[in-house]
């Protein structure tokens, strides 16, 4: 079939290689214009976003009137569906007793046992969920936020297996029937994708604080740049003792609890 000798084959191969190599060169030369994409000037920037929970303030408010302001604000802002039951519920931030938030550190003599703690995605500095995602649908931004690209998620749920904090939820069915009032400014998700807290990336881009932080009347949720010594979070931590969940796993969570 191929009556060519080795020499003419090599000649042909050489030309093809040149042709293949031409496109990147012409692309580079052609695309030297300015990009039309940029960040908004009022967007908040940070090296490592983090959150501090003032546990005492929070627990006092919960004891007073079963406060759920942060949960309501988050779930309404982001169209999180309200599905009853532990099987398919979707929660980005929720309340759980101390021994469930810190299962490795249970102490029957501690006064904290039984008291409610707010838990959410920790936006770890060394996130195992990002490590395992086969499509980079979950990825870590430069500012520390562990983001989800709902367009790319294939719903394999490997990230849910990898998360040591149970922070992720899955859409087992179409969530729209379970959303009381759709807020059109933010999309809903579709069945078959994983979702979790995104540190209100869309609000940060507009210069706003996360919804939960804004909604907390006691100012028990403090948000800021953990690597900026003058930020709200660092000032809140100064001189105080704070704990993080499962530090022994080395994921380096960015959510700290002032106990």
């Amino acid at each position: 079939m191929m009556d060519k000798d080795r020499r003419s084959f090599l000649k042909l191969a050489g030309f093809c290689a040149l042709g293949v190599g031409a496109k990147p060169v012409t692309d580079a030369l052609a695309g030297s214009g300015q990009s039309p994409y940029s960040s908004k000037p009022r967007a908040l920037e940070a090296k490592r976003w983090g959150m501090v929970v003032d546990v005492k303030k929070c627990q006092e408010k919960i004891a007073k009137d079963q406060c759920r302001d942060c949960i309501a604000a988050c779930h309404i802002t982001h169209n999180v569906p309200e599905i009853e039951g532990a099987k398919e519920e979707i929660k980005w931030i929720w309340q759980t007793p101390y021994e469930h938030a810190f299962p490795g550190q249970v102490d029957e003599f501690a006064q904290l046992t039984g008291t409610p703690f707010m838990v959410l995605c920790n936006h770890c500095d060394n996130p195992p969920c990002v490590r395992v995602c086969p499509t980079k649908a979950t990825f870590k931004r430069e500012d520390g936020v562990v983001m989800m690209d709902f367009h790319r998620c294939i719903g394999c749920r490997y990230c849910m297996a990898a998360c040591p904090f149970g922070a992720r939820s899955f859409n087992f069915q179409d969530p729209r029937p379970f959303i009381k009032e759709v807020r059109t400014e933010f999309p809903t998700r579709m069945r078959g994708v994983v979702e979790k807290c995104n540190f209100c990336a869309e609000r940060l881009a507009e210069g706003l604080q996360p919804a939960c932080v804004e909604a907390c009347k006691e100012k028990a949720l403090i948000f800021g740049d953990l690597e900026d010594p003058d930020s709200d979070v660092r000032r809140a931590l100064r001189g105080k003792y704070a704990i993080r969940r499962k530090t022994y796993l080395g994921t380096r969570p960015s959510v700290l609890y002032l106990v």
Binding site: P103, P134, A161
Partner: protein, 386 residues
Amino acid sequence: MLEKAIFVQSRRYWAWVLALLVVIGAAFATWYWQYSVGLTITGMSRDVSWGFYIAQFTFLVGVAASAVMLVLPYYLHNYKVFGRITILGEFLAVAAVTMCMLFIVTDLGRPDRGLNVMLHPTPNSVLFWDFVVLSGYLLLNILVGWVVLTAERKEVAPPKWIKPFIYLSIPWAVSIHTVTAFLYAGLPGRGYWLTAIMAARFLSSAFAAGPAFLVILCLVLRKLTRFDAGKEAIQTLGTIVTYAIMLNVFFFFLEVFTVGYSQIPEHLDHFKYLFFGLHGHDAYVPWMWSSFILAFAAIGALLSRKARRREGVLALGCGLVFVATWIDKGLGMIAGGFTPNPLHEVYEYVPTPPELLISLGVWAMGLLILTVLYRIAVSVKREVEA
């Protein structure tokens, strides 16, 4: 050679194929319903986010890897007795890996986006590598099996260029199950799986379950067709199964010691849940103990060489091994890893009937592929021996 599976006169063959197609049809309809409505029709939950589908996948990767137990002795150590049946191992691998891939598709939340794994390759994700090695292994076995069988049909030696592929399939078989074990063994939050012996346990149970299934298949083939794998080949497979199941049980005891003696709750609680129940949830307890007892019964049946020489005992022992390892990997491993959840809450997982029907359909699909391929292999051998 495909015509050997199509132009078949046997009534029994077509009745079997038809039965499989009916199951596959019903399962496909159920899967389409799952695709439309979502994975809500399964028993999976926010806490136990992987279930029966992934468990079957894990078990079948092991069965697929077991082809190496025929290829290695024959090609590396010139164990001529396995010469007639390496094709059976390779074709079993093809059927098993296909089932694995089908189980992944049924488990995905958005199978229509499955191509993203190839469009956005992510080398730090073990799942990416699992996809790579499984696809490669499937292609390898199709290539090797087909080429060698064609050569046999033409009564010539297989072409020289196929040898490197055959040698490659040996470490590749080990790799598919090691990578699958790595899916679980590298997750910091899952104490049941975070153990170095995960991969070793996987391989030992694979080399017990796979050859056990092959023994049964050889005995079935001898009954239904006139193809005889040979007494010595079947006996050697039986020996492999015996050593492998003993190794698997030994590894299990190693795990039990580590969690039981150190008593770290994050690791121990999963064993407690599976074998004794936790917070009143105990659905898996009878299954896990059955698996334990069956494994010992299998060892009892298979331990003596004299007993293995009686093929009824051998078949029984192999059946026990298959069931015991299936319960361990195909039922207990996944649910046990997720329960209790990272917040130490227990939400029990039990598969739902639609989930089981879809799984049955995938098994039927694998059996169909196996039937067709084995039919071709046996017909070719019969044609040559004539």
